[in-house]
């Protein structure tokens, strides 16, 4: 039964990928999309080929990877902290990325020269987000060595978020109007910012994070029982927790750097996967979470192209519409269970 659901999820992913290629602000017939994918030209509409290859394919792959990456890091964190409301944002990793980007856009004015290397525009944003996220992750790794309790680490993450939030407010306060505008636009999230030539780096980083997460399936299962039971079953708690932090750090840093801070997916998708699969077993839950995350991100991307005038709705306007009801359900369901 569970394998059948996984198969259906796979089919849904493929269908949504196809829909993302076919559906967009500009109507391109499915037949023409297929021809372009097979390498043929459409002589009467030369721009179609460009739109499909340079725009819709990168956008589809970006959404798919981003959904899978954020959902997986959400699942890893919820299991590690045994807290249903844990997500990539709660540890402060993505607020680290936000701070990096805010520094780059608001303080440095969008360009910086280090020695002979000059960074500006898009590349600077990615470098800054990566540096911010990895910096916070390093800090968390250091702290997790000192703190034995996962709850303390979670609280540290929340405190980090507050501190970075305050610094970002300060930067916003003293920045130019233009800088604030571009920072706000970045913060709304979008899947259309990665061009075809930048796509391989993004996909590679996501793939490394996802593959490493898959390797953690067995220790993650034991962590469900709590640290002491897991240790008694032979799991190295420190090694697993550090590997897990590295994975979530990489996945969150990559997606935030390339797509902006996408909200709710990391928090909500693991719950949807649990509701659908009705199991805590990560051998089933992890692939289900990856596929569900990919599907939802693709669906959000489709929704973002809904306005008829060709403009895109920011992704972070759509994700809370899916995420908020799921979180409400989780809170109510947990209360019911405790009662």
């Amino acid at each position: 039964m569970k394998k059948l659901i996984l198969f259906i999820l796979m089919l849904a992913t493929v269908a949504l990928c196809a829909a993302n290629l076919w559906w967009g602000s500009l109507d391109i017939p499915a037949k023409a999309v297929w021809k372009i994918l097979c390498g043929e030209d459409i002589p009467e509409h030369p721009s179609w080929k460009f739109i499909i290859l340079e725009n819709r394919i990168p956008q589809m792959v970006t959404a798919l990877c981003c959904g899978a990456a954020l959902s997986t890091s959400g699942l890893l964190l919820q299991t590690a902290f045994r807290n249903p409301l844990a997500g990539p944002s709660i540890l402060g990793i993505d607020s680290g990325a936000n701070l990096g980007v805010a520094l780059a856009m608001l303080y440095l004015g969008g360009s910086v020269t280090l020695g002979g290397l000059s960074l500006d525009g898009y590349l600077l944003v990615i470098a800054a987000a990566m540096a911010g996220a990895l910096g916070i992750m390093g800090l968390l790794l250091l702290i997790s060595g000192l703190l034995r309790s996962p709850v303390m680490l979670l609280i540290t993450g929340v405190i980090i978020s507050y501190v970075t939030g305050a610094l970002i407010s300060l930067l916003n306060f003293s920045a130019t109007e233009e800088g604030v505008h571009s920072y706000i636009m970045w913060g709304m999230g979008n899947f259309s910012g990665i061009s075809l030539d930048r796509l391989p780096v993004y996909v590679l980083l996501c793939a490394i994070g996802l593959m490493t997460s898959i390797l953690l399936i067995k220790p993650l299962d034991t962590l469900l029982l709590g640290d002491n039971y897991a240790a008694n079953l032979g799991t190295s708690i420190r090694l697993t927790r550090n590997a897990l932090l590295c994975c979530t750090g990489l996945l969150t840093a990559t997606t935030t750097a390339f797509c902006g801070p996408i909200s709710f997916l990391g928090l909500a998708v693991p719950h949807i996967a649990r509701m659908v699969m009705r199991t805590g077993n990560h051998r089933i839950l992890m692939p289900a979470t990856m596929l569900t995350g990919g599907c939802l991100a693709l669906l959000c991307n489709l929704c973002s192209t809904l306005p008829p005038n060709g403009s895109l709705i920011p992704i972070n306007v759509i994700t809370p519409l899916i995420g908020a009801p799921v979180i409400l359900y989780v809170i109510l369901h947990t209360r019911k269970q405790q009662a």
């Binding site: 002491n228 032979g234 199991t279």
Partner: protein, 251 residues
């Protein structure tokens, strides 16, 4: 056989109990008794390998537990702890199967012999009929049995339990203690548990460990009663021990 040799227990830099000497034998149920704060949990956690000994040693069949690898430990000692694993969507069979973790491969998939061990463990504690029930829907007593089944599936010669009867009603307490005694006697396991149920421990355990500020005393209930240790152990606030009837009364 587990032997404590001049063991000191504690955490951080704080020593909780020191100069502990005692041993646990296979096929026997041993109960650890002691007042709150005397270091029962710390001793149990040290035996489980969660805390390093602060001094002295714990030997299992002659080998210091510090020399055992994580994997060897997981195949030697199974534990039932006071913390309740609250895993939604995990059924009784899946929880029992967690005990097979030290034996399964990289992905944790169950092979034929693992499934057999899980089935046998559930039958031994009498929860086979609850196989597909979600663990969080069970009563405290049933849940405790599931955790015991998990340690049985782990097939360790030693089982350590931290206050396994603490939250149970009286019939469930008796049932759990009887089950543990049967497992020790019939399967030759070394079973060691901490408890506050003094009278039940005296009546059901093969051996007792009495932990107090003065140190650790061990022996059968009869021996400890005969040499006055039990009487001294509880002689506070007007509680007396009737050695002949093995009961406590208020003087």
């Amino acid at each position: 056989m587990i032997t404590l040799e001049d063991l000191s227990t504690g955490y951080g830099s704080r020593c909780v109990a020191s100069h502990l000497n005692a041993s646990l034998s296979p096929g026997r149920l041993t109960c650890l008794l002691g007042a709150n704060g005397v270091g029962k949990s710390t001793l149990l956690r040290t035996l489980c390998g969660f805390l390093p000994p602060m001094g002295g040693s714990i030997r299992i069949n002659g080998t210091d537990i510090r020399q055992l690898s994580r994997k060897e430990m997981s195949r030697t000692i199974g534990v039932v702890l006071t913390e309740r694993p609250d895993v939604p969507d995990m059924n009784v069979e899946e929880m029992t199967a967690m005990g097979r973790t030290p034996y399964t491969g990289f992905w944790g998939s169950l092979q034929g012999k693992d499934k057999e061990a899980v089935k046998e463990a559930m039958q031994m504690v009498g929860i086979a009929h609850l196989r597909v029930r979600k663990v969080h829907t069970l009563s405290d007593g049933e849940r405790q049995k599931v955790m015991i089944a998990k340690t049985l599936a782990q097939q360790t010669p030693v089982i350590l339990l931290d206050e396994p009867t603490a939250f149970l009603d009286f019939p469930s307490k008796v049932e759990t203690m009887r089950l543990l005694k049967r497992l020790a006697h019939e399967n030759g396991k070394t079973i060691f548990l901490s408890t506050h149920d003094l009278e039940m421990a005296i009546q059901l355990a093969d051996d007792l460990w009495l932990l107090s500020k003065e140190g650790l005393q061990s022996g059968t209930a009869d021996n400890l009663s005969a040499n006055g240790s039990l009487e001294r152990f509880v002689s506070c606030n007007g509680i007396k021990f009737d050695a002949a009837r093995k009961v406590f009364y208020l003087s």
